[in-house]
Symmetry: C2
Subunit: 375 residues, 2 copies
Amino acid sequence: MALCIGSVSFAQTTNVKEDFKPSEVNQPGKAFPQINSDGCVRAQIAAPEAKMVQLDIGGVKYNMVKDASGLWMGESAPQDEGFHYYQLNIDGASVPDPGTRYFYGAGRWGSGIEIPASDKEIYALKDVAHGLVSELNYFSVITKAWRRCFVYTPPCYDKNLDQRYPVLYLQHGSFEDETGWPAQGHANLILDNLIAEKKAVPMIIVMDNGYAFKAQDDAAGARPAMAFEEVMMQEIVPMIDARFRTLTDRKSRAIAGLSMGANQTMRIAMNNLGHFAYYGGFSGTANYPSASELNAEIFLNGAFNDGKKVNEQLKVLWLGVGTKEPEPFPGSIGAFRNMLDKQGIKYVFYQSEGTEHEWLTWRRSLFQYAQLLFK
Amino acid sequence: MALCIGSVSFAQTTNVKEDFKPSEVNQPGKAFPQINSDGCVRAQIAAPEAKMVQLDIGGVKYNMVKDASGLWMGESAPQDEGFHYYQLNIDGASVPDPGTRYFYGAGRWGSGIEIPASDKEIYALKDVAHGLVSELNYFSVITKAWRRCFVYTPPCYDKNLDQRYPVLYLQHGSFEDETGWPAQGHANLILDNLIAEKKAVPMIIVMDNGYAFKAQDDAAGARPAMAFEEVMMQEIVPMIDARFRTLTDRKSRAIAGLSMGANQTMRIAMNNLGHFAYYGGFSGTANYPSASELNAEIFLNGAFNDGKKVNEQLKVLWLGVGTKEPEPFPGSIGAFRNMLDKQGIKYVFYQSEGTEHEWLTWRRSLFQYAQLLFK
């Protein structure tokens, strides 16, 4: 009978493995949502008067089924390992699932779920020395707005008061914000674990917000100009160097970003090679979304035209992408790599096996990239 | 017509002042919920197929009204100034409002709203020097569990590397957690502003989680024993003193808490007077919920029996409560004050005008209490 209710319902079919466990990012004490060993998500919510409740995950809406007590339950098809944003739909209202903690992505604070990954140890909370993640509010003169960044300082930072540290500037993607890397990205745990195993140099990581628009004096309806590069170079970097015990030479500064952040930080790196010696593009490049052949003489004002010079200046040029990412990601990254090859520019290319344009790709990218920095 | 739908609907009555503005704690770009100058809350959500949608705030459910496009809207009665938790009910499902940021309280992550307060300047984000709020994960041997605290370090902490600072241990209430004070409590902004005006001494504030239970070897069904005092004294205080540049004498340590936290921290303070010289109880005391006369000879093992000694040991004994708080708060605090008076113990008593057992009472309490510390 349950199967009659929804056209795409997977609920209560005999194919669902009954080894569901609560998601790791559930609210304290909440039993649902759950995940089984196939990566199926099972949601549950009390909505006694509702006509239709759906689990909306991975671009698919799965009809849930109501029991006699008014409790709705339903399962998704298997999901990729890693972190996913999702929501519930209750009689047409798209709302967060009250069972989960909330994350900023897809342009909203909403539900997230964690499908245990084969390599989840790289971002697990382990009994190693832990760095701090510090929240810093600052007023930006360029944007005439309050902004916020999170700063990871390594475990030894508070002990070795006469030591200075290299800095990685690490950016989120579109419709995300400065909370992405410290929350669902687990940047702090990835570095804690790498530093404990001596696979990464102790470093500071600065995670800011890539959305920055020039304050406008006239409200003539003009679209506000993007100003993230100016905010980064004129406000964020000087503020971090003034407040934290940083090394300030170019060989002690790295920059990286994911998706939109990869695009932004590639521009920032290549426009400011006096300040950065390491670049990482996680699922993105500055030619996004085009897969067309790049002309090195004109792309980014010829920043990659002199391959020998780029090889001298960039100690690491790093690119990564998930094997399941859709276009335009593989195509635009491929076109960029072709240009690098043609110019004889060295780079590292990493593929995250079985992951989409999602956070497991980027956790793995940070894990790989951070090991190459400042060495 | 709209008025026919719900028995307690305030929607679209002529009494509602039409000067609504978005709440300060809305998600970026979200126009709803809104608040008018009477403190009425107006919520809005698209739920085209729903039969009944309610705004559930302050213990009252207000029926919302659907327009032709499937958008539901409704208003609450005037709310007290300050911060309130709330939720929406959609055909019987209690869910967060997708318009707001989310806060932990009432035992869940859910919606919050901020009714602008007459004295909101005390916790406003201003153009003054800002301290850091740092997140620290640590493993607790006593509870055999990962725990987390937030640590506020004052603006000068990163500059004056040879200076040590006094510490305030500041606790949340029941069904809240370590995020309460740094998020809805604005402890960092209150201190930033007080320090900028030289009304408070630069201090470190440690905000931990008051729920701590002894790890049990046998699962014989025994209720786990509360272990917060042991965690505080044996794990948190030593960890903070090892990691941060603290002053460690008793006159450089204060402790305070709200509601359940007031009860817990009074016990910790009085059991450990060798470690603390300042106590603050915000809307709570250790005799909660009883309003019965206290016998100083036996209450807390006679900790308040020798009034002269208590006066020597506690440099500040501070109590606060909101004038609108219901029983058992005024009664139990009153009984405690009667005992202090009888024993000749000096204390400060503060009343927050027009506020309930909610965060504006506690923001104001911190604002008052912090000015008296370490002087």
